[in-house]
């Protein structure tokens, strides 16, 4: 296992890129490529990362970089890897797609590559909405969050659907390695990228990357907010290796989801009722991940019947 101290000095993603101050995506990219090293070829579909990392004639990547369309990350890295194999080069093809390019638009391509168990690394930079195009809702947007397509009005406030469980979808392909990462947990982050680097087959790294303008928060809190997310159960750190799930970081006592929500402007409008609903969702997830810890206190405030409140509302809105 390598530690922060053992990481190389050199930046393979150079300074001068045009990401917003405090960008979680830039942080994740820089450190992922630090661990992956020079023998890497990068593919980025339409996303912030392609805009701030490469603006003609400049580029921040010091490794080969390729970009085409939004929906084909899985297919492109497959092709890149096939070419390297044909040429006898020992290079890893890595795709850095956003949550829009993975949860929604790129899902079929990613699923194809996972099904074929291509020898590539797929990294999803999950900032929970289409941030590059101006904050539209994606399948990764959590319940209650404001986006420009889930605005806060008098009747409906924010996103009414819960975050899609991408982890389960990806892991269901029975791939060698799936892991969730957070920039706020550096050792866990480095260990997982390093582990993925040394495994053969389709590896999926799911990174939680705060977005300052999209989440409407203080740029200095990028790392802090990922820590709060893990402490409250909104984000869980685990890995699935050959079908075997392992929790890699166990937070202490569960913190109320409210602390996490109030750090961000996108949640600040949420009513107590909505927060309760989200808390129940988090509790369910928490109990699933940290079974042995037992139900935390915050979860016992709401009676268990309310678990179903959301599905009923969903039916009301969308028919049976």
């Amino acid at each position: 296992m390598i530690t922060i101290k053992e990481l190389p000095d050199e930046n393979l993603f150079t300074a001068g890129h045009t990401a917003c101050p405090g960008c979680g995506v830039a942080m994740s990219i820089r450190n992922a490529i630090r661990v992956l090293g020079k023998d890497t070829s990068v593919y980025v579909p339409a996303s912030c990362a392609v805009v701030f990392g490469t603006t003609f004639p400049y580029g921040a990547w010091k490794v080969p970089f390729f970009h085409t369309a939004f929906e084909n990350t899985g297919a492109c890295i497959t092709g890149m890897q096939a070419a390297f194999e044909k040429k006898g080069k020992k290079v890893t093809a890595v795709g850095f797609a956003g949550d829009g390019g993975t949860y929604d638009i790129g899902l079929q391509s990613m699923s194809g590559a996972a099904e074929r168990n291509e020898d590539v690394i797929y990294i999803c930079l999950d900032n929970e909405a289409y941030m590059n195009t101006g904050i539209q809702r994606s399948g990764g947007t959590p319940f209650g969050a404001w986006t420009t397509t889930t605005p806060v009005g008098t009747k409906v406030q924010g996103n009414r659907r819960f975050k899609k469980n991408l982890g389960e979808i990806v892991a269901a392909h029975e791939i060698p390695y799936y892991a969730t990462l957070s920039i706020g947990h550096p050792l866990d982050f480095i260990r997982k990228v390093e582990k993925a680097k040394n495994i053969k087959g389709f590896r999926f790294l799911h990174m939680f990357t705060p977005c300052i303008p999209g989440w409407k928060m203080d740029p200095a809190k990028t790392v802090e907010v990922t820590k709060r997310a893990v402490e409250s159960g909104m984000w869980t750190l685990y890995e699935v290796e050959n079908g075997e799930k392992k929790i890699t970081f166990k937070p202490g006592k569960m913190k109320s989801v409210r602390d996490y929500l109030m750090m961000q402007g996108r949640f600040r409008h949420m009513s107590d009722e909505d927060i309760k609903k989200l808390q129940m969702w988090v509790c369910k997830k928490w109990n699933l991940h940290y079974k042995e810890k037992g139900a935390p206190e915050v979860c016992e405030i709401v009676p268990p019947e309310e678990h179903h409140a959301v599905t009923e509302e969903h039916r009301e809105m969308h028919g049976p």
Partner: protein
């Protein structure tokens, strides 16, 4: 017709400023239009916004190329952009700066109004969003709109989007800046050079639009060439590290999204390269021993 061009950075609210100014003109019974222009850049990158005010209907839809007044929301832009380009004779410039008008070199000698809008914004709004403060200075310098209608416009614009409290504070920021504005004349010494850019002929472009590492008269291009892009102007604050307190845990180096904090393993030390610091403050927030403090950049 009175034409205004705003030079700002993404996140400072140049667009809202242009809109609020237009609204103020409408309140006074005039016609007005406002619209922004920006590239694919993110927060902190230079942006433009325009406002046109007239007593008649406005049919002109182009960008403002010869403004009557230029508003600069961030004085670090003066180093990289020729803000007075196309300024009409007898025009004026409003700048957010701590300097006196006489100490500001714009390349031409012109009526210049100065206000430290960043300090006003930090005092009243608790964030370096300088748009409403600079509008106060604009009202004072040009007299095109009254302060009262400006305050009313800010209350309407911001109240609708951000709530009454925020609107109230923003109009206070405008009033405060109105009072603190200093009007004078700028220096006209420096020669403004336009930034060199690499514009290849189509024959020079490699097949498939790929770009390899290279050096042109405008600097590096291709992989790793973003280091040509100095972003220090984006920062309102910048980190200062106390070497005595620092335990070399390297967390700041790991977290820095920019590569501002450079690690030199041979010397076992860290160096801060302010050319690339956007002043996010993550390093100071995460330092476990509080060895990093954020201080005002360009103080």
């Amino acid at each position: 017709m009175f034409e205004v061009r705003f030079h700002g950075r993404g996140g400072q609210g140049a667009v809202m400023a242009a809109e609020a100014l237009a609204e103020a003109a409408v309140i006074e019974g005039n016609y007005a239009v406002a619209f922004p222009f920006f590239g694919a850049e993110r927060r902190g990158a230079p942006v433009l916004a325009f406002t046109r005010i007239d007593s008649k209907k406005i049919y002109s839809k182009t960008q403002v190329y010869s403004p009557d007044c230029v508003v600069v929301l961030d004085d670090s832009l003066l180093d990289t952009i020729d803000v007075v380009a196309g300024l009409k004779p007898g025009g004026s410039v409003v700048i957010n700066s701590r300097d006196k008008p006489e100490d500001i070199d714009l390349g031409i000698s012109v009526k210049t109004a100065v206000v430290d809008a960043t300090s006003v914004a930090l005092e009243i709004l608790k964030a370096p969003i300088t748009n409403t403060a600079i509008l106060g200075a604009f009202a004072r310098a040009t007299g095109v709109i009254k302060l009262e209608s400006l305050e009313e416009a800010i209350k309407r614009r911001f109240g609708e989007k951000l709530g009454e409290k925020v609107a109230e504070r923003n109009s206070l920021a405008a009033r405060t800046a109105y009072g603190r504005t200093v009007i004078g004349t700028s220096k006209g010494i420096k020669k403004l050079e336009s930034k060199k850019q690499w514009l290849p002929k189509y024959q020079e472009l490699p097949a498939g639009g790929s770009l390899i590492e290279g050096k042109t008269e405008a600097g590096l291009i291709g992989p790793g060439s973003f280091i040509e892009n100095k972003v220090s102007g984006w920062a309102t604050f910048r980190p200062l590290r106390d070497r005595e307190k620092c335990t070399m845990c390297l967390l700041c180096w790991f977290y820095c999204p920019e590569g501002t904090i450079v690690r030199i393993s041979d010397r076992g030390d860290l160096m801060t390269n302010y050319d690339y610091c956007k002043g996010c403050g993550v390093c100071a927030n995460e330092c476990p021993v509080d060895a990093i403090k954020m201080v005002r950049a360009r103080a």
